[in-house]
Symmetry: C2
Amino acid sequence: MTDDTQDFRPEARAPRGFADKRARDLRAERAILEAVSAVYERYGFEALDTGAFEYADALGKFLPDSDRPNEGVFALQDDDDQWMALRYDLTAPLARFAAQNWETLAKPFRRYAYGPVWRNEKPGPGRFRQFIQCDADTVGSARPEADAEIIAMAVEGLEAAGLPRGSAVLKINNRKLLNGLLTAAGVAGEGQKLAVLRAVDKLDRLGVDGVRLLLGEGRLDESGDFTKGAGLAGKAVDSVIDFVQAGVLLKDGGGRSATLANIAKVVAGSAEGDEGLRELELIDAALTSLGVADDQAFIDPSIVRGLEYYTGAVFEAELLLSTTDEKGAKVSFGSIGGGGRYDDLVARFTGQTTPATGFSFGVSRLAAALRAAGREPGGAARGPVVIINFDQAHMGEYFAVAGELRAAGIPAEVYLGTSGMRPQMKYADRRLSPAAIMLGGDEIAAGTVTIKDLDLGRELAAGVADNAAWKAERPGQQTIPRDQLVAAVKTIIGG
Amino acid sequence: MTDDTQDFRPEARAPRGFADKRARDLRAERAILEAVSAVYERYGFEALDTGAFEYADALGKFLPDSDRPNEGVFALQDDDDQWMALRYDLTAPLARFAAQNWETLAKPFRRYAYGPVWRNEKPGPGRFRQFIQCDADTVGSARPEADAEIIAMAVEGLEAAGLPRGSAVLKINNRKLLNGLLTAAGVAGEGQKLAVLRAVDKLDRLGVDGVRLLLGEGRLDESGDFTKGAGLAGKAVDSVIDFVQAGVLLKDGGGRSATLANIAKVVAGSAEGDEGLRELELIDAALTSLGVADDQAFIDPSIVRGLEYYTGAVFEAELLLSTTDEKGAKVSFGSIGGGGRYDDLVARFTGQTTPATGFSFGVSRLAAALRAAGREPGGAARGPVVIINFDQAHMGEYFAVAGELRAAGIPAEVYLGTSGMRPQMKYADRRLSPAAIMLGGDEIAAGTVTIKDLDLGRELAAGVADNAAWKAERPGQQTIPRDQLVAAVKTIIGG
């Protein structure tokens, strides 16, 4: 050991905003990633993983001459004075990778990726500075069918991860529709268009009337603060409101087709709007061919997402599940992920516009939602069978039993602490062991083994099992011939 | 897009020492981690993942008042001025976690972990600054059987990952043996003991005569440089040499028992040596109970490993596989991982000695070794079936076919670029597609589909398949009724 043991004793704590993940969380995370990856691979997407760091200039958030580019990301200066930063998403590294390898890639390049991303933000309850994202993107195809595939995979992926059909929905929009509508209405400035998007993005929170005010002169909120509006004229405000309300839900007798017909009326007459409409029609057709129904993915003209990022279609996955908080109030999970078409990201490096589309979702968020909905991803926790350790002299017997169980695919361990029988039982219980195995001197001499059914104990305690009914076929404790051990444990685990 | 597109075009390149991993590498990595994790879980070890960052003081390499603790690690200062560093292994975070949660953990705490670690070192060919480690550790058991389990899991894990029995071996030693021997020989200073360890560690490179010189006065190498020796007296040098040569290999008619008998003669009479011997005897007995044979794990008194880190048993996994370099020379892979008992690491935080033992291996290194041995981890690469895209008007048909194949579990995609037939075929070939599907207007009208067997093409090109023999049952191209598509593709993939 180094000398600082004597000199200095650091406090054992994880850095702020970084969580230690135990077995249950990791089982959930891995089950989700495995299920979703299988979907992506079935769609012909290949795995890619880039390193944790990118050069800060490649992340695109910084001016190259900024002194210390650490806003929002974890950045440090390399030996050669170049600034590197931990990736804050999986899209920026993809754009860098695609630009770097464009000549040699089979195109369109279809890749999926998952892994940690880092955000240097203020941590808080449930707000972490490291979390797992899972993405799929197609780079090099401008076809709307590429968007449709991404949407179809998101639908299928969320179901594969354990969300029952009807508990999540993909909402689709296209940036070009509103842009075209505004151009036709004489709104030319980018700043004014962004103000409109920001107003529309508040539809959920402020309702139609609030958005109407924000599209026009502005809005005075309850606290007396005035938010300046986008300054649209009355007729343009009406058009935008008509547009964001053009979605026709299945329950209202509509679906993607009905919404597209509605949208056509509002955006008619602008080239960009027509282009956006045509793209959505092709997305709709491809979704139908892919078997994605109106209840799984619908068109919602009020969806905005990342303001300056997307250039065409945008998607958002919304969880329809809800749970209740400590006070019994209903809590909606809301957005679980999203994406869209971002045709300019590779161009940062190459100068060439490169069509790209993708979808990203947060894995921990999905795991939390599944759990709240009563669906533990990866199944219920189960610990190893624990072989009670009575006597050093019999260690060989204990290990032999553990080996037999493991060979049968049953997790098992010999207790290797120094405590007595009761703490060992408590240990087994805390590990969620299905059974404890006792091999005392008498049992060894008689060629028998005693099994205590800990699952049954937990079931009885929880009122799941009825003591009398179970006793006959599955006693709480039984002493059996040693060669029946594996079969007896299998009965407990299977039961 | 932000304004810097116009102002500045960054170069698309990954930071130095960080590799982009494509599908083949990731498939190998995942197959290894899945196989090894399954072994760990069967032994009752639970998964843990800590965040990428630890506070620098918790990593134990730094003095708390150092100005910029960035030697060897990637460190940065958090908003609250605390230094954080990316983990450089998985053991330091485990020690921090165990210390932080000691009161509430079920003990002994058996955990496995895998994930990236980061080293801020000079990158070079094959030397990366981020790589994947995979560890298993038991914290809170001083029993030598805990070491034996770790060794048994390493043996079983490497075999589960694809290393055939006989292609790797675990070598075991115990720090206490040499320490005891030296104490008995009157060597008391820690500095002199370390010099002895350093000399022994050069056995592979310098041979017995070289080590003998380094144990005594010193050694003059070929270049004329003199290395000062440990300064042992002649008798002590003889004892150390006897000790490091005490290993008796199976091929020489021995094994763990014979080696232990040899060691007993050399270290007899020192309390620490006797303790180390007793520990190795218990490890040997437990290994035998666990079914680990002499050819899978043997005792090698010349094994040293991390000088100031381990406090008792040490293990090293050595690959016996070799490959040849570009010049045809034999290249041994050597050490693939190692571990041992480190009873002082948790004490850094708590002040209480906490027994711990573990093993760590490098996943990329193992993947490279398996590959060089002709065993592709995760199996051979296979791309999706590619549906050739002739005409926008038939997109619905293409997607329907892709959906049928996916529903049958066969990865499939519709080509979504804009190139013609030949580039599409080239694309399919580069993706390692087993087959290309052609649905032209004629086929659609006739209810048929044409399949081109690309696997067969590759086999013919490689001389694996014989053209005439294959033709009858598996033609290179065939037009069949549409409802036989899935079956025909399965024949190609299965064949």
